[in-house]
Amino acid sequence: MNLEFNETPIRTAKNYNINNIKLENIEIPENIQEFGGLKFLGDITDFEILEMNKFTEFKYGNGEFLENQIKDKSNKNININAINNENKELQLDYKFSKDNKNLIENIEINLKEKSNSTIILKYKSIDNTDAYQNSKIKVIANKEAKAHIIILNMLNNKSNNFIAIENVLEENADVKYTIIDFGGKNSVTNYYANLNGDNSNNSLNTIYLGNEEQVIDLNYIMECYGKKANAKMDVKGAIDGICKKHFKGTIDFKKGCKKAIGDEKEYCTILSDTAKSISLPVLLCTEEDVEGSHSSACGKIDQEELFYLMTRGLTKTEAQKLIIRAGFNEIIEDIENEKIKKEILEQIDMKLV
């Protein structure tokens, strides 16, 4: 099946090929079995975990077809309530295999007032099966709620990974995301945050790593409505092989969001002369009293750094790995779970061989 989705909030010329993503011949699973590869880990008793019947439409999301698939055929519907004021960690550990190859899920995370939590969603292939993931994650951050949400895509390069995320942040809510986007033949993420409350704070740190024929399409949108809202995107990645990466980042200052601050950064390291990077860092502004900035850069690894490390006895691959890992370090160090951190570093090593 051919799919066209992940539309940008503002259009550019058609021939720039960045208004949406067009994927051809995507195998859409018909008979959806139960997904038995999910385990809840961590401080489970500090969260309310319920089955859910609710379906809410997203403002942006991953397009009509994938939305409808979740509405009609989801095999996981989970409602998570974060209720504890101390920082508690919940991990949703998804393992994809030949027995659990299709996940169509609808998750709603409710961060109760003044709650503090870390929620990790780890999607990992444990065999060579071409898996299919279509996830929809809604996060409601009530007043003064604080959360660190970590999403790890560690699927194999034969799988399809489609994730749509929508956040609503009320007054003084502080939601930080870390997205580690390594896997999938096609990995498409639509991320939307509505910074509705005054002093609401949303930061999104992403690391992507693409090789072979991977297609990575990231469409991040943050809309500031509340006064002194703070929207921040920091996206770092490396692409190799004939990987195609599209980064579309939009910070939209809506009228009334006085003293809001928005900052968007993207840095892409290109490791081969056949990998392709397109970026569209957008700032939209209808409020005078704001500070908005974006920066985007790309290029190959600094040859002087590489040479220096090689004179110290490292091979070229080892030196490259070290430099790339160093670039990602700030984002990885922000994760408190040591096991997860270690797993991310192992994945980087594996992908950069």
Binding site: A13, N19, C268, D289, H294, A297, G299
Partner: protein, 465 residues
């Protein structure tokens, strides 16, 4: 705190002459109208055929699905050809009085006397005055109106006309191909350095009409030129259309500086297309100021085809009440060791919308290329809008690419600092706005800096405080 900046004083630009003409084509767009324009212009057969083919392309292409809303444009209400009641002349005294007065007030003959090597002045659809200094003529420089070029230099024109900007680029380029009239043709022979700028000024006086001038400049190997273009029109109640086309061929080791001040009236839809093809070790510098028009969609483009080719874009736009200025720059790196520098600024106030829309494309073979983009937007009130929409398409690892953008108001800290130095709040704000525009105005030649000063600095100085 609100910044009180007045709208640009347009008095000299809004002078309306009576809509007198020698010939005005009926409104609308049909093959018969195109044939009539071609007949009126005494086109050679190949040009008539070209126009008709362009019309076919125009009818097939859709309006852009992005950018400002163009739904108010109704080609059935636009007359695409208006011939003024004047023949082209090289003697200023022969230009009819009312037309002459308009250009006098815009300072064109004055600028010619002081600091220009050549001048062209277009009124509605035709060039009414053209002159060039003898020294350039002796060096083999050609500077003439496009119609004369089509007749007298057919091989040169045929080889270049709408090859850099093909008619299928977009709908309004196809429209231009069908109805183009007037404009300038410049050829600078190999190795000739034109030390003093050449200027063409385009004035659209007739209401409910369009101006579709074609500018074709060829700077041959090792040559150099500074070309200046100015545009203005008085304001009418119904929309006027400007869909000009600029094609620049800058051959190996050549240099071209292309400066523009567009100050169309606020009923004008300005859908202009400008493109340069740049050869080995050649360079094109664009300096662009966009002030007038109701809607502008203007994105000059450099195609760096030769190894070591360079381009630099310095642009400013000022969007006031009722204006939607969608401007920016496009660059395509097609060869190794090419470089581009972009420096763009915009100011929006009083409900105006300023958009920076851009493309950087670095193709596979553009190894060791460098790109640096910097854009800054200043919002002067909370009823205006400012957007930054850049596309960066990088297809090689051997590249150094960086893009930075900032958006916001005048910093309270800067105002405070200047006030502690004895300036009033209004003077402090005016100084900051002038400082914001200064990197662009200093790039303009003196005679155009004067016009820019009319448009920003002097007006702001008079209006604030």
């Amino acid at each position: 705190m609100k910044t009180k900046l007045e709208e640009i004083n347009r008095n000299i630009y809004d002078i309306k002459n009576k809509d007198e003409y020698d010939f005005k084509i009926k409104k609308g767009l049909t093959p018969e109208i195109i044939k009539e324009i071609s007949k009126q212009k005494n086109d050679p057969e190949w040009m008539k055929d070209f126009r008709l083919k362009a019309l076919e392309v125009y009818e097939k292409l859709e309006l852009p699905t992005w950018g400002p809303d163009l739904s108010e444009l109704n080609m059935d209400e636009i007359a695409t050809y208006v011939r003024p009641k004047s023949k082209m002349t090289g003697n200023w005294d022969e230009v009819p009085e009312d037309i002459k007065n308009t250009f006098d007030k815009l300072g064109i003959p004055e600028a010619e006397k002081k600091s220009l090597a050549g001048v062209g002045a277009q009124y509605d659809s035709e060039v009414v005055y053209h002159s060039m200094k003898n020294e350039l003529l002796e060096q083999g420089v050609i500077y003439t109106d496009m119609e004369t070029a089509v007749r007298e230099y057919p091989d040169l024109v045929k080889a270049h006309f709408m090859k850099c900007v093909p008619v299928y680029d977009h709908k309004f380029v196809a429209l231009h191909g069908a109805v183009w009239s007037g404009g300038s043709f410049v050829y600078v022979p190999k190795g000739v350095k034109v030390e003093i700028p050449i200027q063409s000024y385009f004035r659209l006086n007739s209401p409910e009409s369009g101006q579709f001038e074609h500018t074709l400049i060829i700077v041959d190997e090792g040559a150099s030129l500074h070309f200046i273009e100015g545009c203005s029109a008085p304001k009418y109640n119904k929309v006027n259309l400007h869909a000009g086309c600029v094609e620049l061929y800058v051959k190996d080791n050549a240099y071209l500086r292309y400066s523009t001040i567009e100050n169309w009236s606020k009923n004008m839809l300005n859908l202009n297309t400008k493109k340069a093809i740049i050869g080995k070790n050649a360079k094109v510098d664009w300096v662009s100021g966009s002030f007038g028009s109701k809607i502008s969609m203007l994105y000059p483009m450099s195609i760096l085809n030769g190894e070591g080719a360079k381009t630099e874009y310095t642009g400013i736009s000022f969007a006031g009440k009722g204006q939607n200025l969608d401007t920016g720059f496009k660059v395509v790196h097609n060869a190794p060791n090419t470089s581009s520098i972009v420096n763009s600024k915009s100011i929006s106030k009083n409900g105006g919308t300023a958009t920076y829309r851009a493309l950087v494309r670095v193709n596979e073979n553009a190894k060791n290329s460098k790109v640096s983009v910097d854009c800054e937007s200043l919002m002067l009130d909370d009823i205006s809008r400012s957007d930054t929409i850049p596309v960066n398409d990088i297809k090689t690892d051997e590249v150094e690419f960086s893009h930075e953008a900032k958006i916001g108001k005048i910093s309270d800290k800067s105002i405070f600092y200047l006030m502690t130095r004895g300036l009033s709040e209004e003077d402090a704000k005016a100084m900051i706005v002038r400082g914001f525009a200064e990197p662009i105005s200093k790039e303009l030649p003196i005679e155009y800096a004067v016009e820019m000063n009319n448009l920003i600095n002097l007006e702001l100085e008079g209006a604030i405080g």
